[in-house]
C-alpha cells in the first residue's frame, strides 16, 4: 500500500465528501455521484481518479456504467498500524459516546 497516496487522497474535503457519499450509498456511477454536488463533472472525475489510485475507491464495470465502491481496506490498514489490539473496544465505546453527545456530525 502506498501510504502517502492514501493520506494525500484523504487530505481534500471534496474527496472526503465523495467517500462519505459512497459510505452512505455504495456502488454509485459518476452521474449519480455528481448529483447534488457543486463540483463539475470533470472535477469529480479527477477526484475519483486520485481516490482510485490510492485504492480508497474500487470500480466495477457493469455494462456501460462504472460503479464506484468505497474500499475501506487501506483505511483499515492505517488503523491497524497505530491502534493496539486492546484499545479497539475502548476506542469504539468512546467514539459511540462522542457521537451520541454531539449528534452524528462529520468533518
Amino acid at each position: 500500500m502506498d501510504t502517502d497516496a492514501v493520506f494525500k487522497a484523504l487530505a481534500h474535503h471534496e474527496r472526503r465528501k465523495l467517500l462519505d457519499r459512497l459510505f452512505a450509498e455504495n456502488g454509485l456511477t459518476l452521474n449519480e455521484l455528481c448529483k447534488g454536488l457543486k463540483m463539475t463533472r470533470q472535477a469529480v472525475s479527477k477526484h475519483l481518479r486520485i481516490l482510485e489510485r490510492a485504492n480508497l475507491v474500487a470500480t466495477l464495470k457493469r455494462g456501460r456504467d462504472k460503479e464506484h465502491y468505497l474500499n475501506p481496506v487501506p483505511i483499515h490498514a492505517i488503523g491497524e498500524r497505530w491502534i493496539g489490539k486492546f484499545q479497539r473496544r475502548h476506542l469504539g465505546a468512546l467514539h459511540d459516546l462522542k457521537n451520541r453527545l454531539e449528534g452524528e456530525k462529520k468533518t
Binding site: M1, E25, N26, G27, N55, A58, L60, Y69, N71, P72, V73, H76, A77, E80, K85, R88
Partner: protein, 153 residues
C-alpha cells in the same frame, strides 16, 4: 446496498494466494479459525465451518478457475435474520500486477435486499480478514484479533 467490493494488493503469487483462500491450514490462521469444507469442483457443495463445530454458512462452488477466479454461492446458517435474506454470491478475482497480486472480493446478494443485514455483516468482516490474509502472506504472521473466533458469536 446489496453489494460490497474490496480490493487489496498482496505481495505474493496468484498460486499461493489461491491456496491461502481455500486451504484450512491457511484460513484458520487469518479467518477467525474457520475453515471451508468443499472438494472445490464446480458444482461441489461448500460450507464455512466455525471452530466449535457449527456450520456458519452453506452453499456451492459456482465457478473455479485456479488461480484466477472463484465464485461461491453462499448463505448464512447461524443467524436467522441473515439466513432469511437468501443466497449471496462471493467472487474472488486474482490478477498478477508486478510483484503483487490484485485481489478483488465482490460480495453481493443474489436478489437485492434493501439494508441487507448479511451484507452489513460480511462488510464488517472482510476488511479485517483481508488485512490479516495480506499480513500472513507478506510477513508470515496474521493479525492478532483475527486469530480466534469471537467469543459468544
Amino acid at each position: 446496498m446489496s453489494r460490497f467490493l474490496y480490493v487489496t494488493y498482496i505481495r505474493t503469487t496468484p498460486e499461493k494466494l489461491f491456496e491461502a483462500l481455500i486451504k484450512p491450514e491457511f484460513t484458520r490462521l487469518y479467518w477467525s479459525e474457520t475453515w471451508q469444507d468443499s472438494t472445490w469442483q464446480r458444482g461441489a457443495s461448500w460450507k464455512l465451518m466455525i471452530p466449535d463445530g457449527r456450520v456458519g454458512d452453506t452453499g456451492e462452488v459456482l465457478e473455479i478457475d485456479r488461480p484466477r477466479r472463484l465464485v461461491v454461492r453462499w448463505q448464512n446458517e447461524f443467524k436467522p435474520e441473515m439466513r432469511a435474506e437468501g443466497f449471496s454470491r462471493c467472487t474472488f478475482e486474482l490478477e498478477p500486477m508486478g510483484d503483487t497480486v490484485k485481489l478483488t472480493v465482490i460480495h453481493e446478494m443474489e436478489v437485492p435486499v434493501p439494508d441487507s443485514k448479511f451484507i452489513a455483516g460480511v462488510s464488517n468482516g472482510w476488511p479485517a480478514i483481508l488485512a490479516s490474509l495480506k499480513s500472513l502472506l507478506e510477513t508470515g504472521d496474521s493479525l492478532e484479533f483475527t486469530k480466534r473466533w469471537p467469543k459468544g458469536m
